[in-house]
């Protein structure tokens, strides 16, 4: 799956992955997809919880070698 925008938040710890994701999302149009990369294990629960609150949709997520990837569609 390809995102309209890729945000590399690797190495950042909580709350920065969500803070950056929110900023990036503000610049997208409804229906566009943000691809987020993070190494913060806390994000696996926080990103979906934030997306739900903000009205976005997590279309897909994966984990590989400690890097968590999310594809989030703007609501």
């Amino acid at each position: 799956m390809n995102g309209d925008k890729v945000l590399d938040a690797k190495g950042l710890s909580c709350p920065m992955p969500v803070v950056r994701a929110k900023k990036a999302m503000d610049e997208l149009k409804s229906g566009q997809v943000l691809e987020l990369h993070t190494t913060d294990s806390g994000a696996t629960n926080d990103i979906p919880a934030w997306a739900k609150t903000a009205g976005h949709l997590v279309k897909e997520q994966s984990e590989e070698n400690g890097v968590y990837k999310f594809w989030i569609q703007k609501g």
């Binding site: 710890s13 909580c14 709350p15 920065m16 969500v18 803070v19 929110k22 294990s41 806390g42 629960n45 926080d46 919880a49 934030w50 609150t53 903000a54």
Partner: protein, 376 residues
């Protein structure tokens, strides 16, 4: 104004002072519902940190301006962010510097008994609901069910001018990593556990079943080991001076130990039945039961420790009076709920079969305790 940072001990002192404490937990709702800081005088509010990212006054509507708000998150980062936002808006904000991570490693010792010849401490690891014990007599100490932050025990023993000479686990723990072996290595004390708990283990230990009585100190501190299988096949309890029963995970203030963690719930429930009605039943009503866990802050008594007389426990737990074997089995094997997180891995660590780094150990242990069963 600036935000004040707080460590776990400072937070606990505040809670312990009996004053009302307002906690704002900014973790996501699932993590909060799974595990949070609780106390009789604590008011706890959950607003996830990401809700503060939008300028929205309704987010703040339940927060008072005239009281101190202590912000909590998983590791401290989000709590600091929210505390600073609150501070900018004129709230009195402080935050727990290392979050639930630090809280999970905080221990609080309480004196249960001081009989002159013998002193008994309960060491409460609040976040996990894990209880361990130190018995001191004439410069010698015994530690029961130590958790893995062993400096808590060495510093307490030092304060009491005592050498740790005996270390025991009542059983092979499934919810937290034992500090028994590490503490033994550090102090030169003997580490005891039942052999049946350690099949396939890769560490040395003193077989507990070969010791029916252990004495230490110039004064007579008598400890009987009573096999009390049920929660695990090799669970034991220790009766100290015929007065205090360190009951491990067999008997709790609020119920019995769960028998299902070995995959043989029905079979182990039978052992638990025998233990309750053929062994514990023989003990006097007025002995004080001191378990290895608690599940609810209501179990902390007015003296500040978790414990109750055997008579009180019998009266308040119907399961202790359910003498019909079938009904008993049905109840204890049927109502156990979620298993402790990562318990299979933790059991392997406690047997010495696998070794993990301190960071990994912290991660495995995070979350609440799930060794007790509540029988409704």
């Amino acid at each position: 104004m600036a935000v004040t940072k707080m460590n776990a001990k400072q937070l606990h002192d505040k809670i312990d002072s009996g004053q009302p404490v307002l906690l704002l937990d900014v973790r996501n709702q699932d993590d909060y519902n799974d595990w949070k800081i609780e106390g009789k005088n604590i008011q706890s509010v959950n607003i996830p940190y990401f809700e503060f990212l939008d300028e929205n006054e309704t987010t703040y509507k339940d927060l008072p301006k005239d009281a101190e708000i202590i912000v909590i998150c998983a590791k401290g980062g989000s709590a600091l962010m929210v505390a600073e936002l609150l501070d900018e808006k004129g709230y009195k904000a402080s935050y727990l510097e290392k979050g639930m991570l630090e809280w999970s490693q905080f221990y609080h010792p309480v004196t249960v008994a001081d009989d002159g010849d013998m002193k008994l401490f309960q060491i409460n690891r609040l976040a996990k609901g894990c209880l361990s014990y130190m018995v001191v007599s004439e410069g010698e100490a015994m530690i029961v069910d130590p958790n893995r932050h062993v400096e808590e025990y060495t510093s307490l023993a030092e304060k009491e001018n005592a050498n740790i000479v005996h270390i025991m686990d009542t059983h092979l723990h499934a919810d937290h990593i034992s500090g028994g072996q590490a503490l033994a290595n550090q102090t030169g004390a003997r580490y005891y556990i039942s052999s049946s708990e350690m099949q396939g283990a890769d560490m040395s230990f003193e077989p507990l079943e070969e010791h029916t009585e252990i004495r230490f100190g110039a004064v007579r501190v008598k400890i009987l080991t009573i096999p009390t299988p049920g929660h695990t096949p090799g669970s034991v309890s220790f009766l100290i001076n015929d007065k205090y029963l360190l009951s491990g995970d067999t008997l709790f203030v609020g119920g019995l130990g769960r028998p299902d963690l070995g995959g043989k719930a029905k079979e182990w429930a039978q052992s638990l039945y025998e233990t309750v009605f053929k062994k514990i039943a023989l003990l006097p009503e007025d002995i004080i039961v001191l378990p290895a866990h608690y599940a609810d802050i209501q179990e902390i008594n007015e003296k500040g420790f978790v414990g109750a007389t055997l008579g009180e426990i019998r009266r308040s737990n119907e399961i202790m009076r359910t003498e019909n074997r079938e009904q008993f089995t049905e109840k204890v094997a049927g109502t156990v709920g979620a298993t402790p997180p990562n318990y299979e891995e933790i059991v392997d660590i406690n047997r010495g079969v696998i070794k993990v780094t301190s960071d990994k150990a912290t991660e495995l242990e995070i979350g609440p305790n799930r060794c007790a069963v509540h029988h409704g």
